[in-house]
């Protein structure tokens, strides 16, 4: 009797466990791309904040409902702004972010070139008299 009961209870749990692995994969991929706004340096996948759990469920629900990755990302951006994206889009407001490192690199290269150009020219060749003097000193 007990066995039957256990089997029955276990079978009740099964639908909950046997979730679509394809959906799971897509949820995980998306959650890795999105920032948890509660603990801002974690992704939705890493965070256990209640909001992160809710948002992961939200992603799952939407994907199950036939939404595309693009739809889910748009949903999050509409509510929380571009900040939820770990890969910020290239926009007027983010130009400094994308171009900044290259500008600084160019500035560094320019400084370096200028410095090299300004270095005093190499010493002139030794004259015969200098050579003779050096040879004498080294003797």
């Amino acid at each position: 009797m007990a066995r039957v009961l256990i089997f029955f209870l276990a079978s009740l749990c099964l639908p909950a466990l046997a979730q679509d692995p394809d959906i799971d994969k897509r949820v995980a991929a998306l959650a890795n791309e999105l920032r948890c706004l509660v603990c801002q340096n974690q992704t939705l996948a890493d965070s256990n904040a209640p909001l992160a759990v809710d948002l992961r469920n939200q992603i799952r629900e939407q994907l199950k409902g036939g939404a595309s990755e693009r739809d889910v990302v748009d949903f999050m951006v509409a509510r929380y702004g571009d900040f939820v994206l770990y890969r910020p889009p290239l926009k007027a407001t983010t130009v400094a972010l994308w171009a900044g490192p290259f500008v600084i690199l160019a500035f560094g290269v320019w400084l370096l070139l200028r410095r090299i150009a300004r270095r005093p020219a190499a010493e002139a060749e030794l004259s015969e008299a200098d050579r003779a003097r050096a040879a004498k000193l080294l003797e």
């Binding site: 801002q40 509510r79 702004g81």
Partner: protein, 173 residues
């Protein structure tokens, strides 16, 4: 000339860090400002059989305040909300709370809200981009979100930002 570059560069760096480190990373600009307040229709906290929608407030300037009994900063800002509610309609959005906790909390600390809606699942709060309770929204007569504050309201923010904004929006009609 050369000696000038180093201190200048240093000062520029210090300025950059001084500004950057003072910015509050929690204050993420909301994309909802200037957009219509997301639709909801939720049961009231006090009367589960009655429902309230953001549409019911069309034609009025009002404040939506997201709060929960489990949220200590909500208690901190409560006197400010109470003061604010004397001049403007404040609607509470009770977030991921339980009625048996939320109702005694209001009885203990006073209930400044015109009414509170009950969002136990936090689903509506997601539509409003809530991530750090308490949060406060100013919504105009046409149902457009005009301002959002994240975290506890201070008397300063209430007096210098919220109240003038509400007054300005009200006179605009």
């Amino acid at each position: 000339m050369k000696t000038l570059w180093l201190p200048l560069g240093f000062i520029a760096l210090v300025l950059l860090l001084a500004i950057g480190l003072r910015l509050n990373p929690r204050e993420v600009p909301s994309p909802l400002i200037g957009r219509p307040a997301p639709h909801f229709e939720l049961p009231l906290l006090h009367a589960p059989d009655k429902r309230f929608s953001q549409k019911d407030m069309l034609g009025r300037v009002w404040v939506l305040n997201v709060w929960a009994s489990w949220c200590p900063p909500c208690l901190v800002e409560h006197p400010v909300v109470t003061e604010l509610a004397k001049n403007v309609s404040v609607v509470g959005l009770n977030y991921k709370d339980a009625r048996e906790d939320a109702l005694p909390w209001l009885r203990r600390n006073g209930d400044p809200y015109q009414l509170s809606v009950y969002d136990a699942a936090g689903r509506i709060a997601i539509d409003y981009g809530v991530y750090g309770v308490p949060e406060t929204y100013v919504i105009d007569q046409r149902g457009v979100i005009r301002y959002k504050h994240i975290g506890p309201l201070t008397p300063e923010i209430a007096q210098k930002k919220l109240e003038p904004l509400v007054k300005e929006l009200s006179t605009r009609g």
